[in-house]
Symmetry: C2
Subunit: 211 residues, 2 copies
Amino acid sequence: MKKRITIIEDNVSIREGFRAVLDTIEKYEVMNLYSNCEDALANLDQDQPDVVLMDIELPGMDGIAGTVRIKKQLPNCIVLIITVLEDSEKVFRSLCAGAGGYIVKNSNISEIVQNIDEALAGGAPMSLSIARMVVQSFRQQQDSPLTERETQVLQSIAEGKSYSKIALDLYVSKETIRSHIKNIYRKLEVSSKADAIKIANSNKWVTGRSL
Amino acid sequence: MKKRITIIEDNVSIREGFRAVLDTIEKYEVMNLYSNCEDALANLDQDQPDVVLMDIELPGMDGIAGTVRIKKQLPNCIVLIITVLEDSEKVFRSLCAGAGGYIVKNSNISEIVQNIDEALAGGAPMSLSIARMVVQSFRQQQDSPLTERETQVLQSIAEGKSYSKIALDLYVSKETIRSHIKNIYRKLEVSSKADAIKIANSNKWVTGRSL
DNA sequence: CGTAAAATCCCCCAATATGGGTGATTGATT
DNA sequence: AATCAATCACCCATATTGGGGGATTTTACG
């Protein structure tokens, strides 16, 4: 069974370039080409693509919003973002939107075919630097001024727990937690939960996510 | 300049197998082999490895704790986890510990060489399925019962903001926020911030991470 | 051994936040 | 017409928070 591919890209030559290359591959079937998300979404049900090659800068709805819509309608469809820039903010938002890979548009079109194959094989194609970025996003605890216990307390704060709840969880008195909080605030030079969490988050002193 | 490699692996034959293969490659220099993290850490300063191949199940300190220690001493050293199992919990904790890649031990040793090269080239080698797992970990908002606004409010709660602060940020009254919270609690069947955050987090209705 | 840091606990106080209730209005969407 | 989303209001009791004083014990390190 041929894999159905849809391309959303506003640049005509790139769009047609993709089609030309992908058309030569028997296992692929290029369903349709679109210059914007709106048109593509209107025809999603007919196209039923297995893979969507999505540009990120588009007139009207951008590629990220488009990805969200596509995944909502076709959860099993793999959306691969194809772009010229490695904008970390966009990479992050694309992945959150449900993109299955983030490919940097380069001269070598055969690499793109390789990437599509990788995505269909269950992988998540990314350039080397993006893969590194993604993996590094898990990294935490650079050089926190906080002690282990304080980190633990702040982590609990970030989970929305009250002092009393944290005290229960850690088998200590509420007053102890308050002491830790005071020390944390002093070290981070803040005076509220929100500020402490913001700093701890941006420095990755607390986690926040699981696989 | 040759790339310095250290191997930490308790299985003798695998350990020696790696050395045998890597020794045949001119650009690599295998510094030392260790059967546990403790010994490896004691010699880190002499070895000064560019890359550490790390087993995850080890006697004494496990590979994850070892990774943390190594990264603390040699932040630029790349630690590649080599394991037989793709345990999502371990993958996650390894990456958090600072691992630069997570390679599944397989029969093909040449693939491992390829992976080391990829890591040295600035990438983050992973098996297809792990790459997919990692990327999917960014994915959010499966089918939340919450409205967009409610999600926004809950997100702010997860950031430790008070009702008043959220109200200011969203340019609405504090009472409006309270209404949203009440609706959120009703929908999620909880009655506290912590519980709401826990549910929203496990269902990925709120973010928590940045790149 | 002595010091410093970390972790533990206690009290006081005032301001704020929170959770629950019971509403109401407006604008979309269906 | 009915539903849902989003907005706002007021009441009330309790919990939480942040800041100020302390104190004790355990642990780590030179």
